[in-house]
Symmetry: C2
């Protein structure tokens, strides 16, 4: 058994190589640039962990993990175009550095190359892997579309928002684990529990991310808090505040969302506190985490094999602020 860190090192050693031919360099250099700017490689490692929960890591799991990381980077490149984002992990985004058109095409070839890695796995389970990969890929696109749609709406129901977050971020974490478990020989019941573990963990993580952006300790969190508020981003916190706050606070929130007042962040946080958004968010996070851990518990393998996944959830979901 390996820890997250060990698997991340094993994966990176294989992933950090050229994934494309040298020419045309105008297309493939930009693609390699973006793949090289890093990231925690959480999803491919989850694929390896899903495999190792049941059996030794099979070489096929590395192929699929590589496909997953390429797919994830494809979504980042295209999302960055749509969001007109200049920076990613402190570096120029692909479209900022090489232009929108090349970024569009470089994203496309990353997605195509992901399928080439999937084509390297054993025929025994290739159809199942391809089906889950396709379903997940479509869902991630749906999530991105819903996210863009919601930006234009005044109000979004919590249920719809959770659905969007599930599609946009959670299903890929869930599918990464599940596809690994399929390679590891897991039964269908175990695979589904693992999928639900990943899905719920992903939602808990997103709730935490929104919470930390508003209430996190800047020193621990590593970025200036209130970014979501300044950008009028729809978050779990904002949507809940709009649902539960007083009419007066709702009116003020609406005003603040269309203003650039210097005390905007402070005043929105004041409203959040008045309607206990912080407590609510912590409870919501704990609820999704508990559901996730229950599914992990329900997987029929000896508990010692679950240790790396428990460590992963502790690493992703901090319980102290």
């Amino acid at each position: 058994m390996h820890s997250f860190r060990e698997l991340a090192d094993l994966f990176s050693a294989r992933f950090n190589q050229a994934h494309f031919p040298a020419t045309p360099a105008t297309l493939y250099e930009p693609a390699e640039y973006f793949l090289g700017i890093g990231g925690k490689r959480v999803r491919p490692v989850m694929c390896l962990m899903g495999n190792e929960l049941f059996d030794e890591v099979h070489p096929d799991a590395y192929q699929v993990a590589t496909a997953i990381e390429l797919f994830h980077n494809f979504t980042l490149v295209h999302d960055d175009i749509m969001d007109a984002a200049p920076l990613r992990r402190g570096m120029d985004t692909l479209h900022k550095k090489y232009g929108d058109n090349t970024a569009l095409l470089a994203g496309d070839v990353m997605l195509i190359q992901a399928y080439e890695y999937i084509n390297k796995v054993s025929p025994t389970y290739q159809k199942q892997i391809l089906a889950l990969f396709n379903q997940t890929a479509r869902q991630v696109c749906e999530g991105q579309q819903l996210d863009m749609d919601f930006e234009k709406h005044d109000r979004v129901a919590m249920e719809e928002y959770i659905h969007m977050i599930t599609l946009k971020t959670s299903v890929l974490l869930a599918a990464s684990l599940k596809v690994g478990s399929l390679i590891g020989g897991a039964s269908e019941g175990n695979r589904n529990h693992l999928y639900e573990f990943g899905k719920n963990l992903g939602i808990a993580f997103q709730v935490q991310d929104d919470f930390l952006d508003a209430f996190g300790d800047p020193e621990k969190f590593g970025k200036d808090p209130g970014g979501d508020i300044r950008q009028n981003k729809k978050t779990f916190l904002l949507l809940h505040a709009i649902e539960v706050c007083s009419d007066a606070d709702r009116k003020e929130l609406k005003h603040l969302l269309s203003s650039d007042d210097s005390d905007k962040v402070q005043r929105v946080l004041g409203i959040f506190k008045r309607c206990n958004v912080d407590d609510w968010a912590n409870q919501l996070k704990e609820r999704y985490l508990a559901t996730a851990l229950q599914h992990l518990d329900d997987i029929a393998v000896v508990s010692s094999r679950k240790k790396p996944l428990l460590e992963l959830s502790e690493f992703l979901i901090q319980r102290e602020y």
Copy 2:
């Protein structure tokens, strides 16, 4: 055996249905809109013809033909974004009607859905089909990148231009035939001859397209000639003219390319005629067509089965102007 027209009708009857779920409609309605604006469905029919050259059309050929048409539409949607093109087949392009971001995502889901259709074929040849499909998809992206690169260059060598056209348009025609022949049980030698037939036919067609845009009879051609010249598009004709014309003509061409003079088309055509670009283009087209037909001839099946492909090449490559 079926004619091109019969196979096109058989294909359309299956293709003209929803390829995506109903929701989110903000993503899938745009995708279905674009798939519904038509086109001649040349590529999927070539897949069916490749199959029927060797055996009765297998249901798997329809799945792969659908994947090919979805892939082709994905490239059109993304190319239209890159070219900022307002119209396609006389209708609004997807990005014009629904915005760039939705067009980007709708293109992405078309590509993903193409892979879902490929996942429906028999495991017997699924790996081979996926490999050829991935290779072709990457090449088409490379061709589009090279096309954009060349727009920025003053001079492009003919060899490089032919390479770009091969990637951007011919390999998909070639692969469509080849993948169909694989399903039809063709030997590797026959499959490769069929691929070369499609590749060379595609180049001949592109040369003809460039020729007709400059010299075609507007009544037969159906569009106002000289469009490429007005848009300063790099074409077979322009690149050859730059290569062979006199220094004085080259100087005038350079001036015309940066002008919007009302007699621009007429004057460029004058230069083309002076350096016999029309004869050269006809010879070039005939050469690629002859190579294509030689490969068709070399395929080891009874010649009666080749009739639909011969008709296709006569339909695509007109020999009278």
